[in-house]
């Protein structure tokens, strides 16, 4: 179960987990009603964006074991502490049901940590391409094309490119090139 208010990141993570053979039961953009969703879905692992304000509610489910039929005990394996620290540094917190296979949990945490880092790097890349005039020109052309074809504002065009970058896991510059290549292809047919 994933709780993340950034759908592109949740999508990246869900795809990566599915590729590894895990099953994503449910994706939530906010932790509202989290308790009920946890009880209904009975997940082995809940991955939560570290900054979700409702995280304390989940934390209390993990602590107040008598209140929940399926307690989400926090991951407390000494050997796995480094993994937990890496995940938290990347910005993802992990809650695990008491009887879940530790090896599977480790795999899930590794995937989540890697994807959160990747997302963070992508966001940073987004900031830095602005400094490269050639890259900025490509992104500018892709934006102009979208604005013209879809009759949207510059801001919305940029958002659309960014959303595509996040959900495909590709840099913004490459997404912009795809848009231009695709438009050229359509024109040539």
């Amino acid at each position: 179960m994933l709780v993340d208010d950034q759908p592109p990141r949740a999508a990246m993570l869900a795809r990566a987990l599915t590729d590894e053979g895990h099953c994503v039961l449910c994706k939530l953009t906010s932790a509202a009603g989290l308790r009920e969703r946890v009880l209904a879905n009975n997940p082995d692992v809940v991955l939560v964006d570290m900054d979700a304000p409702d995280r304390d509610a989940l934390e209390s489910m993990a602590l107040m074991q008598q209140e929940t039929p399926r307690p989400m005990a926090m991951f407390h394996d000494q050997d796995a502490e480094a993994l937990l620290i890496a995940a938290l540094r990347a910005g993802v917190s992990t809650y695990v049901a008491g009887n879940t296979d530790v090896l599977r949990v480790r795999e899930v945490m590794k995937v989540a940590t890697a994807r959160y880092r990747e997302y963070h790097a992508l966001c940073e890349e987004l900031e830095t391409t602005g400094d490269d005039p050639a890259a900025a020109a490509v992104i500018g052309r892709a934006k102009a094309l979208l604005m013209q074809r879809r009759r949207i504002t510059e801001r919305d065009a940029y958002r659309a490119l960014r959303r595509q970058a996040m959900s495909s896991g590709e840099p913004l510059l490459r997404v912009a090139r795809h848009v231009l290549d695709y438009a050229a292809l359509l024109k040539s047919l």
Binding site: D51, A52, P53, D54, R55, H76, L88
Partner: protein, 401 residues
């Protein structure tokens, strides 16, 4: 001189005022500190960022520091504190519907009268097959949770059976109350004042009416950081103590700082309400006296009393949250009164003892200190009126006195 960089996390609440004052009035800079203040949106993320070294220090719920050091939750990394952020600041607020129900049943205005009314109301609801009342606190290991649980016990109720206790972030309490998701909450300011002044709820009793001059937040650091950053830590304690003294002396102007959108984004008159007789409380709607709310430095509010640590560990044990070793090591390792004394020697009067004999004082009282005596505040705790005691002649403090 190269300034030392320190990252401090906090939850935006009125009790984070000393941090704002230390930055704006230059107390951090005067100690050679370059402080980066970082807001957090959950207690869990504040704790985790401190544990993994993304923060150097944090204004943390005192029981959370103890719980984390006992290995309850997240990474097993012991925390320590040499500074308490202040006293009081919490209150219990209930929905208009629950308020009217209690007023109809109460035989008088005291916290005990309200407790008896709550008992009757809960029994009536249960008898009619209704759902239990839902009451929110900010975290299982928090003074808010223990204060609310204490009052429910005074009401003769079992907090784990007779009501449903849930956890919500402080900033969302008022909205959930307005939407009817919860029947009441115990939270820090300004959220009780915001609920009262916007009509979302009625402030039923101040935290002071449950525990007078209660401990609340502490400045938490990891034990490793305290050991490797002694000088910076001491500078931080001095800056925060000076800021806390400033906050007490210039309270109303200082609170203005918190109204900024980057801090609480709540109007200044709401934040100031408990100190300007604008927060009406209890069944009679009398304004609370200012001393029911925050004390930032007076009454040795910043001293890390080991007796406070032991008292809170006792609450954790009382509510079966954990087993606490009985040898007193946890309190001594978590509350470093020695570091506070080292850092503040020469600046202020310091108590000679690490513990204060509490729970008996109805008025301010003195303890021996160095160089001069230190003053402490009233420290009684609300008690149930036993069957033998006539209502009205109870020895317990009543109402808004």
């Amino acid at each position: 001189m190269k300034r030392s960089r320190v990252r401090i996390g906090y939850m935006p609440l009125t009790d984070s005022l000393p941090l704002a004052v230390a930055r704006e009035a230059g107390y951090f800079a005067a100690e050679g500190l370059d402080v980066d203040l970082r807001p957090e949106w959950s207690w869990a993320s504040l704790r985790d960022r401190l544990l993994v070294g993304r923060l150097d220090a944090a204004s943390m719920l005192a029981p959370m520091l103890l719980a984390t050091s006992l290995g309850l939750g997240s990474i097993n990394q012991p925390l320590t504190s040499a500074f308490s952020m202040g006293l009081n600041g919490n209150a219990v607020t209930v929905s208009p519907m629950l308020f009217h129900g209690l007023r109809a049943l109460a035989e008088g205005p005291t916290p005990q009268d309200m407790a008896r009314a709550l008992n009757k109301l809960v029994a009536a609801r249960s008898g009619a097959g209704g759902t239990p009342l839902v009451l929110a606190v900010v975290f299982p290991y928090s003074c808010h949770a223990y204060q609310l649980r204490h009052w429910l016990t005074v009401a003769g109720l079992n907090p784990d059976q007779d009501v449903k206790l849930v956890v919500l972030p402080p900033s969302q309490m008022v909205d959930h109350l307005r939407l009817g998701h919860i029947d009441g909450f115990c939270v820090g300011e300004p959220w009780n004042s915001l609920a009262a002044l916007t009509g979302a709820g009625h402030c039923l009793l101040s935290g002071y009416q449950i525990w007078e001059n209660a401990p609340e937040k502490v400045l938490a650091v990891t034990r490793d950081w305290a050991a490797s950053h002694g000088e910076v830590h001491a500078a931080l304690l001095r800056a925060l103590h000076r800021a806390a003294v400033h906050a007490d002396q210039h309270l109303l102007e200082s609170l203005e700082l918190l109204a900024h959108p980057a801090w609480l984004d709540v109007p200044a008159e709401v934040i100031r309400a408990p100190f300007t007789q604008r927060l009406a409380g209890g069944l009679t709607g009398q304004p609370y006296p200012a001393h029911h709310f925050h004390v930032f430095s007076a009454y040795q509010a910043n001293f890390p009393w080991r007796s406070d640590a032991r008292f809170l560990l006792g609450e954790m044990q009382r509510w079966r949250q954990c087993d606490v070793p009985r040898d007193g090591t946890v309190a001594a390792q978590c509350y470093r009164s020695d570091l506070f004394r080292q850092a503040l020697t020469g600046l202020t009067n310091l108590p000679l003892e690490d513990d204060k004999p509490g729970q008996a004082h109805a008025a301010p009282w003195q303890m021996s200190g160095r160089p001069g005596q230190v003053e402490l505040g009233p420290d009684r705790r609300l008690e149930a009126v036993t069957a033998e005691q006539e209502p009205g002649v109870s020895i317990c403090h009543s109402g808004l006195a």
